[in-house]
């Protein structure tokens, strides 16, 4: 299997985890670096297919401009929506501070 991809490093995995908002542990970095590398090696053969002039398919059933009448319909009651939230204050979702101290 041709694979000219360089090996995925621990630092690259840490970068991916940061992008994906996953506070992975040191142990996980070691585990995932190896596993992700094997998976990426296996899927790299996708590059073997000569597909330069082929249209990409994003959806099995091509549909365009799916519209509906712009009517008013009831939405979920506020209390029902907030009931599942981890933290609520003054009938709103309560979130931690947006800006960290270093930003």
């Amino acid at each position: 299997m041709p694979d000219d991809r360089s090996t995925l490093t621990r630092d690259e995995v840490a970068h991916l985890a940061r992008l994906a908002r996953l506070a992975v542990t040191e142990d996980e970095l070691d585990l995932f670096a190896g596993q992700l590398d094997v998976i990426l090696g296996a899927v790299a053969r996708i590059g073997d297919v000569a597909a330069a002039d082929i249209e990409p398919t994003s959806h099995a059933v091509p549909l365009q401009n799916v519209l509906r009448p712009d009517g008013v319909a009831p939405s979920l009651p506020r209390d029902a929506v907030l009931a599942g939230a981890p933290s609520v204050e003054d009938d709103r979702f309560r979130v931690p501070q947006i800006l960290g101290e270093e930003e």
């Binding site: 992700l36 296996a42 082929i54 994003s58 933290s87 931690p96």
Partner: protein, 515 residues
Amino acid sequence: MSELFELSAAETAASIAAGHASAVEVAQAHLDRISDVDSDVRAFLHVDPEGALTAARAVDERRRAGEPLGPLAGVPLAMKDVVVTKGLPTTSGSKILQGWIPPYDATVTRRVREAGIVMLGKTNMDEFAMGSSTENSAYQVTRNPWDLSRVPGGSSGGSSAAVAAFEAPLSIGTDTGGSIRQPAAVTGIVGHKPTYGAVSRYGLIAFSSSLDQAGPFGRTVEDTALLHQVLAGHDPLDSTSIPQAGPDVVTAAREGARADLSGIRVGIVTELTGAGGGYQEGVLASFRNAVAILRSLGAEVVEVSCPHFDYALAAYYLIAPSEASSNLARFDSVRYGLRVGDDGSHSLEEVMSLTREQGFGAEVKRRIMIGTYALSSGYYDAYYGQAQKVRTLIAADFTRAFEQADVLVSPTSPFVAFGVGERVADPMAMYVNDLCTLPASLAGTPAISVPCGLSDETGPALPVGLQIMAPAMADDRCYRVGAAFEAAYIAAHGHILKGMPRLGSVGAGADGAAR
């Protein structure tokens, strides 16, 4: 006399409509069966006796009042936990949604309730439907009723195990890369992945939006068709829902049961017959027998080549993780589910990262990171873009193949059920379970798995599935050919579940369904 829980869904509905059994009696018989065997099988994450009996009482009252009942009124059903159910816990197999009670019903749930079907509870699954063994559930390991040391397939393994173990005659699964068909195959039941867009995705917790499709499980092709008919139909709440009516799959299943396939062209897909190795010999032997049965029913068997199917695994494991990495961004600790580290010292972004770290299991993290990688600038064209082009080529292979054949067949999975723990350490060993099911997922075409034999290659006799694939919106062909095959198989061997070892304290297993 057979137990109520041994009846097929069609028999159960007929029995209730005729007044031979009440819906409450039927519901109670299944709740008792769950109490009897689910400590071994562990198919359910949540059982809802109160809700089930209330729904059953409503059916009985409607019958007494002389109101018309639907064809599945009073029939119990097990719902995969990826489907949102108002008032019933819904976790998608993940800790990040532990304790969440949805404020609304999925369209699938609504259709089930409106049909008078009695929902018994929610079934276990691989976390966010990512896996082929249900071992990626954050909660429990579901066991295969044929051999409790083995997996029930996945990701809809709770739903497949519940039906195989006679805990419910019907269940609902979702199939992104094979998650209905493979668990059906390895537990000896029927499972159908409808044409993409035939069943609404509104209220399914999204894994890979361009691939996810909900569908039915049953112990017979007719039962599976009856549930399909309830689920399918256009839904304005899902923009990818097909705005036309689908085919009449119930009639197709009933006509198919006459077991005459004269004039039907069946194509064997060269690339899915294990020529390159990797398939168990017992699976291939059952498949060859199945093809011989189809031929004996009058089908014309041809061989077709779909060269790009060899790249389906690579395309799938780029497209699905890419979409998952985007879809799962919604689990941000704000609107629902878990929140970790909200102690005043962490920013929102840190709380998000800590929550997702603690709330997601290893396979979910792996797929999110693979998706993040495949979508990142510099890699997008080589990975995600290229995978989408290969998807076009796979769909074109199907189009050409369906010029030569009315349906295509293959084994559903290269393997029979494997042991709990056997493949968890190696992600690729798990991914190859999906080899035969991925092409139809990528093309959005329908496919059914029907039991086609037993293999004792790895120890005890275990079920093998036959996959029957059809063109988009021709789901009826899957049911027609599947029912014909089933009729011939049962005539020769009896119902496959008759061969399953006895579970629980009452009932031998399959008298009712084993006509």
